[in-house]
Amino acid sequence: MTELLPQNQIDSFKARAAAIAHPHELIVDLLRAIQSHYGWVPDDGVLLTAVTLGILPVEVEELATFYDKIYRRAVGRRVIHVCDSICCWSTGAEMITEHLQKSLGINFGMTTADGAFTLLPSCCLGACGDAPAMMIGLTTYGKLTPQQIDEILLKERAAIAAAD
């Protein structure tokens, strides 16, 4: 099993926490670092954050459970956030969602059998001029059509394979 975060990053967060008056302000940064390295934030990730910053686990958990882009359950290698807010909805987001669900063979909240993708609905991604839109990882894709989605998924799958 992969480590939650490389030791040098833990040390760097410890040093930063010691140098500032309010170590709590690093909670989101550290949770995001763990998620970026480990894929999501398990209970041990909450604990590691608390220990590293010298604060209580509950102070971390009350943030981890609040933000919707901190994953407290296991997710696939890439999380797909499909926008369902007004601009995307009015320009075909439901059709886009259906296509994604069919191509991936999963519904919202599920992960593909090969562990590649988790599909989640999302509020507005700030890509309203390029609706309908989705975000995979931290990359936003707009003006989606079913054909484009197929190409994007192929590209993302290739990127996952290349990283292994």
Binding site: C87, C128, G129
Partner: protein, 425 residues
């Protein structure tokens, strides 16, 4: 399309980001140089005289906000840029930061000097990693050039800026919730008063402004408040505004337009008209929380005061257009689901009220509603408005209230038919 003066977008080129050298060549950082030759009070007065109103949605006069700030109070004081931009239909700050991020850095340096806040935070939403990277690069360039850091441009004043990357949730756009988010506390809103100017980040005086607001400040310092007044088309309006167009338009892009431009010109000229040759039915004039406008409002001027006259708001000027085949119950249902999901759960009118409104709108849309449900919907709006802890639920009621005011017949049609009259269209 009329060619209007470009201020924030004057350097914008598709797919490119302006770097420091180009920004300086186009007159960048002249505003900061001008400001540093003045006293902090004089800088605030320039902004106050410009009439600039906040671009984040509420439209509060920026110079007045600054005038409340305890500039002379010793100890830590903070400047915060609100780049949460999560209101559906709003994507203008992203366009600004992708195109020309030094405007924000310069604006923050000027604001920091005017308010004597040597430490600033740029709060950016999770989805805007592209913006975070560009702002960080601009900050680095500005430090190397002496516009940020110790003793900026030999003025004896220090400014340091930090980028905070958030992790989702619309409520962070509420300024006190954002401050909790920056502190690493659960980001529910705080009670006001005390206002952030008295007790904000870490309990210290804090000034919070939107990205576009701060990015406008350098231009006011460079060209003067009188120039800023000449930019608007409305008699009492000032300045230009970024309009993000979306929905059923041929051209869904972000344009910098003079305040006071008519909705018709925005929709027909800049938006290229309703797509597919369809008719304009309604629009959100300034994001998901602004009450609808209909075809009878096409000649209304897009500015703060004229839109209030027609019971709406300029908000963020994210204009989302709907054609005549769109069910306004379904639109309102979608908007309300957003607000209900993004409610932080702190207060009952928002947590439970928005869920109830969603349930009622579901019943109407899917043909399960009776006239009693319509009466209950009206009750809910009355009971939520003015009774929630922060502005989220208040904003959520904007479109619902407008649905009841402008499209009650459409609601009744759903109830009578036992289903959506637009289904399958």
């Amino acid at each position: 399309m009329n060619a209007y003066p470009q201020v924030l977008f004057k350097n914008r080129r598709p797919g490119e980001t302006v770097l420091l050298s180009e920004y300086e060549k186009a007159g960048g950082y002249q505003g900061l140089r001008t400001a540093l030759k003045m006293s902090p009070e004089e800088v605030s007065t320039q902004v106050k005289n410009s009439g600039l109103r906040g671009r984040g949605g509420a439209g509060f006069p920026t110079g007045i906000k600054w005038s409340f700030f305890p500039v002379d109070q010793p100890g830590e004081k903070y400047l915060v840029c609100n780049g949460d931009e999560m209101e559906p239909g709003t994507y203008k700050d992203r366009q600004l930061l992708l195109a020309d991020p030094h405007q924000l850095v310069e604006g923050m340096a000027i604001a920091a000097y005017a308010l004597q806040t040597p430490v600033g935070y740029v709060f950016l939403r999770y989805a805007y990693e592209d913006c975070s990277l560009r702002v960080e690069r601009a900050i680095e360039e500005a430090i190397d050039a002496g516009y940020l850091g110790k003793n900026i441009l030999g003025s004896g004043f220090d400014v340091e800026l930090h980028v905070h990357r958030s992790a989702g949730r619309y409520i962070l756009g509420e300024e006190t919730s954002l401050l909790n988010g920056l502190e690493g506390r659960r980001p529910v809103p705080r009670s006001k008063p005390p206002f952030p100017a008295r007790s904000g980040l870490f309990g210290r005086p804090t000034n919070v402004n939107n990205v576009e607001t701060l990015a406008t400040v350098p231009h006011i310092l460079t060209n003067g408040p009188v120039w800023f007044h000449t930019l608007a088309l409305s008699p009492d309006g000032v300045g230009t505004k970024l309009f993000g167009l979306s929905g059923h338009l041929n051209r869904t892009e972000c344009f910098e337009l003079p305040l006071g431009i008519t909705l018709r010109e925005v929709v027909e000229d800049f938006g290229g008209g309703v797509r597919g040759g369809h008719k304009f039915k309604a629009c959100l004039p300034g994001g998901a929380s602004t009450p609808y406008l209909t075809a009878e409002h096409l000649d209304v001027m897009m500015d703060f005061d004229p839109l209030e006259v027609v019971n709406s708001r300029l908000g963020t000027a994210g204009v989302t257009v709907f054609d005549e085949h769109t069910c306004m119950v379904a639109v309102t249902r979608n908007l309300n689901h957003f607000f209900a999901r993004e409610s932080c759960g702190w207060c009952t009118p928002c947590r439970d009220g928005l869920a109830t409104v969603s349930w009622l709108l579901d019943r109407i849309e899917f043909g399960q509603a009776t006239m009693d449900d319509l009466a209950m919907l009206k009750d809910q709006v009355r009971n939520i408005k003015g009774r929630s802890f922060c502005a989220l639920a208040e904003g959520a009621m904007g479109p619902v209230e407008a649905l009841l005011r402008l499209f009650e017949d459409e609601i009744k049609d759903h109830i009578k038919r036992g289903g959506c009259p637009f289904a399958g269209k």
